[in-house]
């Protein structure tokens, strides 16, 4: 196809990126998977600390995929993709945290 399309600056979340960014992202995601594995398999920390740590690693890995693989930063303004994602994550947290909160104190059935 013509040049314009291939090097279009407005890469909508999927066309951009370079080999370098993919390799960096891949390495990061491997490291961020190994850390929680090692911590959990060897019982290195107490339960609360482990939980916090591995959830943190998962969130970081999510960000890595978002930035290095999905190129969320390349989006041009207005950033509707990012806005939709943030709103979605807020609702996601509401569903999970809200359910846990409500169901934990639920005294009718268990």
């Amino acid at each position: 196809m013509d040049k314009h399309n291939i090097h279009a600056p407005e890469s909508h979340g999927s066309h951009g990126g370079s080999m370098k960014s993919y390799v960096i992202g891949f390495l990061f995601s491997i490291i961020l998977t190994i850390i929680p594995l090692v911590v959990v398999m060897n019982d290195m920390l107490n339960k609360t600390a482990t939980t916090v740590l591995i959830l943190l690693m998962a969130v970081l890995q999510f960000l890595v995929q978002l930035i290095f693989f999905m190129h969320i930063r390349d989006e041009e303004k207005p950033r509707f993709n990012l806005m939709a994602l943030i709103f979605g994550l807020v609702i996601l947290l509401t569903i999970v945290a809200g359910s846990i909160w409500i169901m934990t104190y639920n005294t009718v059935a268990s």
Partner: protein
Amino acid sequence: MLDKLKEFASEFFVTGDPLILGAQVSIGLSLVAIIFALTFFKKWKWLWTEWLTSVDHKKIGIMYIIASLLMLFRGGVDALLMRMQLAAPQLEFLNAEHYNAIFTTHGVIMILFMAMPLMFGLFNIVVPLQIGARDVAFPFLNSLSFWMFFFGAMLFNVSFIIGGSPDAGWLAYPPLSELSGSPGLGQDFYIWGIQISGIGSLATGINFIVTILKMRAPGMKLMQMPMFIWSVLSSCITIIFAFPILTVTLFLLFLDRYLGAHFFTLDGGGNPMMYINLIWMWGHPEVYIVILPAFGIFSEVVSTFSKKKLFGYKSMVFALMSISFFSFFTWAHHFFTMGSGADVNAFFAITTMLIAIPTGVKVFNWLFTMYRGRITFSTPMMWAVAFIPCFVVGGMTGVMLSVAPADFQFHNSYFLIAHFHQVLIGGVVFGYFAGLYYWWPKMFGFRLHEGLGKWAFWFWNIGFYVCFMPQYALGLDGMTRRVNTYDFDMGWQPLNVISTVGAFLMGLAFIFQVWQIAHSIKFYKKEKDGDAWDGRTLEWSIPSPAPLYNFARLPQVRSQDDWWEEKQRKAKGEPAKPLAPLEPIHMPKNSGIPFIMSACWFTAGFGFVWDWKWMIVLGLGGVVVCMLARSFSYDTDYYIPVDEIERTEAALRGTK
């Protein structure tokens, strides 16, 4: 062989009730009549090419509206049957099982198969026209959405003649809705009917967000969009975040029933309360999904019929968007009595009261728009004006219900019934009627008879108050919802009789509306000017009904209420905008895939209901084939050449 067939038929069809037998016979006869008429007048091909395969947003919108009015009829008959049963103590007009089935189907149909499609119908017809676009973002998906809704609704509706109606309430709380509580097939029809149409709703949500954000006419900034567009945007945002929750919740209930899972069962560690928690995470946003577009309609109508710019545009936008956000944080007020402790109840009581604030803001905006305006009381405006006091009272009783300690008294009483009917009829139904009357000339190119419309209006309004005001009192007197009868010594009869009279007044109002439509068709008078109400927004700048491509030239928008400003400039004698040369218009081709694919979903759903494996495989296989067929087809669009556009435009405008 014959005995086997008989046995099968007695299981397959619902038998033993004269009312249902009557319905079965009349449905059978009308089907035969329709098939005969289509064959006799040789209309099958026309039906298929012009309607069933159409991807034109205007036709899809009309099909949505026809379907929703049919559903309004069925839901309304359900309501009248219930009111008849309750008119006197100890009546045996409907037995308890039948009564349960009827209040369940009434609720599901009115919310999901009446309000939602009426809303989608208006979205479809109005949104592209108001933003100056030629179709929605994804016309094929739009057609798929409609057919998914339609077949889902049909799957739900056949249950009362085939297999048995669901009877566990409109939200089907477990454990009653589990296999142990509802061993019949009705609950499975419920799950699959809603599931299939829910997928369609989700797709519509995505479609219209993209349409609004990406397809506005050149020059139209976000803050210049008509208020109805803002309301559609906020409603669709709410749809895409709420409907996946419904999908999952129903799916889990399905797994419980079909595969013996233990999500919401009483045994096996399941927790029925989790279902209630999840379903209301969808259910509460859902009521805002249907009310938000009504707010948009009122804004358009009030502004047009007051001949004034909408008061407080920015505050209105802010109110709509904040409602769509905060609607996700109030769900637990539906189950204060579940016993999640004071902290949870206090939090959700406060969020519920907070969300009343942006709603109140809007009422003042409409009032100030009317203030010192040149008001004409045409039918759309009458509905808008009637809505305000009705919705204010409904909102106030809502705030009463939001007080968690008080809710322990109101919960599941007729007070609640009166409250939500007041916001849903007074808000949603009045709103959509206003929209229907307002945009009717744009849809069909003729006006509805005003006089009959006013009769319908007054019957609806008086009937509404006569029906529901007594129910507040009944609730406070201790009458609970979903009771099929009551004793003589409760003292509830007088108010119940009044309420029943009110319900029948609304039934009469519906007849007036049907009459109004029939009368207006019979005395058809072409509405020559596309601008029926001296409107303000782009849809009034083109002929009625709009041509296939809507706009021969895409409008160049300079301001809010652009068409109004344009007319003002013209009146002052300023030169009109120079006309750009016509270009060939790119249009999507019609496709039969959406219809066939939805029919396959229907087949699969029906198979799941009866647990007929071959039918499930057939249906789901068909779905996969349809998806692949679509993926492999690259020839999906065509151009309308310039000379054809010229001819069409000349024919449409030449008579003027």
